[in-house]
């Protein structure tokens, strides 16, 4: 028992120590960062947070942009993936296997390699600097995983259930709305969270599609963050930005830990 407790402690230190250090850094004055053990009269400050929050555009803007893109692409993904996975679960074994293989192939593709072609598409269709347009490639890139997860959820439902509903005279839409969707809602929730996390964290495409500073998403804004001055290494504001940028996700994980774990448990690997 003692060994387990020690392991848990080690695990927590491993995961949280870097973040704690960033938290500490974000409250230190610049002088204290360079000489951490010197005794300084004034060690703590909120300046870094002020400089990050008052920058132009304010940091909150990036969070809102990411939230918007994340929300929209999650919605789009589900809109496409739910019907697709339903039909995939009802398909014959051989044809569904072919499609599943194709999907797995797509899911395994390192999508970074697509950025040049996507940039050309954005240029050709004038999609640059639009957060709404950015949600489209995100939704497309999330399709394989979303369809695979949801297909498994649909396949787990007993076939008699739908037959019974059909006998009762419910139309396809009604069956979907009143029987199937409620039953797979846990799987939908966990897929939604995974897609949201992907869109929130995505970097290379946002980097090439968005150049307008008012429309940057969080990961790009972080990489591009302009310190208040060129003359010193702006680690204080960096750290403050890290902390502010992490808070929404930490909350998200805290609240949705259960569906995240259970979503993958529903059998992502059965295919």
């Amino acid at each position: 028992m003692k060994a387990t407790r020690f392991l848990i402690l080690a695990l927590l230190v491993w995961s949280l120590a870097p973040l704690t250090w960033q938290l500490y850094t974000s409250f230190c004055i610049d002088q204290a960062l360079v000489t951490p053990f010197a005794s300084l009269n004034q060690r703590w400050t909120l300046d870094h947070y002020q400089s990050v929050l008052n920058s132009n555009p304010p940091f909150i803007r990036y969070l809102l942009n990411s939230l918007f893109v994340g929300g929209l692409s999650t919605f789009l993904t589900l809109l496409l993936a739910i019907p697709s996975s339903y039909s995939l679960s009802k398909m014959g074994r051989r044809s569904s296997l072919v499609i599943k293989f194709f999907l797995i192939g797509c899911a395994l593709f390192p999508y970074v390699l697509l950025f040049l072609a996507l940039l050309e598409i954005a240029r050709y269709l004038q999609l640059g600097n639009s957060l709404i347009a950015l949600a489209v490639p995100y939704a497309a890139l999330s399709q394989p995983l979303a369809i695979l997860l949801l297909t498994n959820a649909f396949s787990d439902l007993p076939a008699e259930l739908e037959d019974a509903a059909r006998v009762e005279g419910l139309s396809v839409v009604q069956r979907f709305r009143w029987i199937l969707l409620p039953l797979i809602s846990p799987a939908i929730a966990s897929t939604a969270i995974l897609v949201f996390l992907f869109s929130w964290n995505e970097y290379p495409i946002a980097l090439t599609w968005i150049s307008d500073s008012g429309k940057l998403t969080l990961p790009v804004a972080m990489a591009r963050i302009a310190g208040s001055s060129i003359h010193s290494v702006p680690y204080g504001p960096y750290a403050a930005a890290t902390v502010i940028g992490s808070i929404p996700l930490i909350l998200l994980v805290m609240v949705f830990q259960k569906p995240i774990v259970s979503g993958l448990t529903t059998g992502a690997v059965k295919g």
């Binding site: 132009n56 640059g128 150049s211 060129i230």
Partner: protein, 425 residues
Amino acid sequence: MFTIRKRSLILLTAAILFISSSLLCLSVLAKRPDNVSILMAAPFADSTSELVKIFNQKNRGRIHLEVIKGPLETEAISDLAISSLLLGNTPFDGLLMDVTWVPKYAKAGWLESLDNYFNEDDLNALAEGADEGNHYQGSLLRWPLNADIGLLYWRTDLMDEPPRTPQELESISQKLQNGGRIPYGYVWQGKQYEGLSCVFLEIIDGFGGEWFSPDSGRIGLDEPPGLDASEWLNHLIQTGVSPRAVTNFAESEALQSFKSGQAAFMRNWPYAWAELQKNDSQVRNKVGITTMVAEKGHQPAATLGSWGLSLLKGSAHPESTVEAFKFLTSEESQRYLYTKYGNTPTKAEIFNDQKLLENYPSLQSIGEALAYARSRPETPLYAQISVVLQRKLSSSLTGMTTPVEAMQQAERSTAQVLEAAGESP
């Protein structure tokens, strides 16, 4: 009671409607101001913010200038500018460009020529050195905002005279270090990035060589001066004159180290001067500036790192944009930018201003060094050949290859890059 209130409400609504519609008419009748936007790296966006306000006040109703604040690092802002240009629909009218971008942007067809906006007199008013790197294939494509050059900073409290040759720099450093007066001799930019190419250019020229000449297609890395330069930089780290960590130093790290009194020499740009005179600096009033060291018999070289304003193709208001350029680079603006932010001026007149020189003695040394300004190779392929050099230098500085091998490999890779692009050397 009720009717009165109702009537007054109607009156109020009518009044509001009347006023707003007449305002709308007026604003439509009056010429809408030209909206001009310029993308700048963060420090320049900050330093010009007051000037922009003045410009907008002066041109109220005619031109509205907006400066878009880009990221801090040169490479990050280049990525940003290029991706905005690739996305099409030029999102800004003007771009503050590093001197090395000019040929590439020109060749890609993104720049509008400025020949019609600036005349011979304007060009002649530029200080020697500041007039370099603004043309490509005969047309003026950029108007300089500042004239950054690489300088050698030295500690006046540790020595009477700055070193003139590489050997002197080393021996002074070692004497000071052995005497325990200072932990390190010389700090510079040894990280694998553009700054390392700037450092190297000064040394190879100081040894009498040339990195690459776009006109003749000759590469000088695998020649005695190139090899000497590479070996000398390596030697600095080996002998401890420069700290090991210099292989991860950019400008700000070098400045931090020098500012806290840990080194006798530093290579940096002119802006560092103002920073070293601040209250929290350990070396306040103990710093001199001069040109980089050079081998006996050769001229010192100062890498030109200037920033300038370019007009982008597709701008809706080219005249107004150039007007903004002229205001931002006027003598008055330059004086302000120099005294307040340490941005090196580009007009010859300012360097001869006796009153300014009295208050800012460093200006004289900067002006003298400016005469030794050297551009990095002016070719659209610059980014590629510079990356080749940085890569090989970095691997020699970190002990992965010998300095000689590094230069041989760099020479070969540079030739390959040129050949692949159809520019056979």
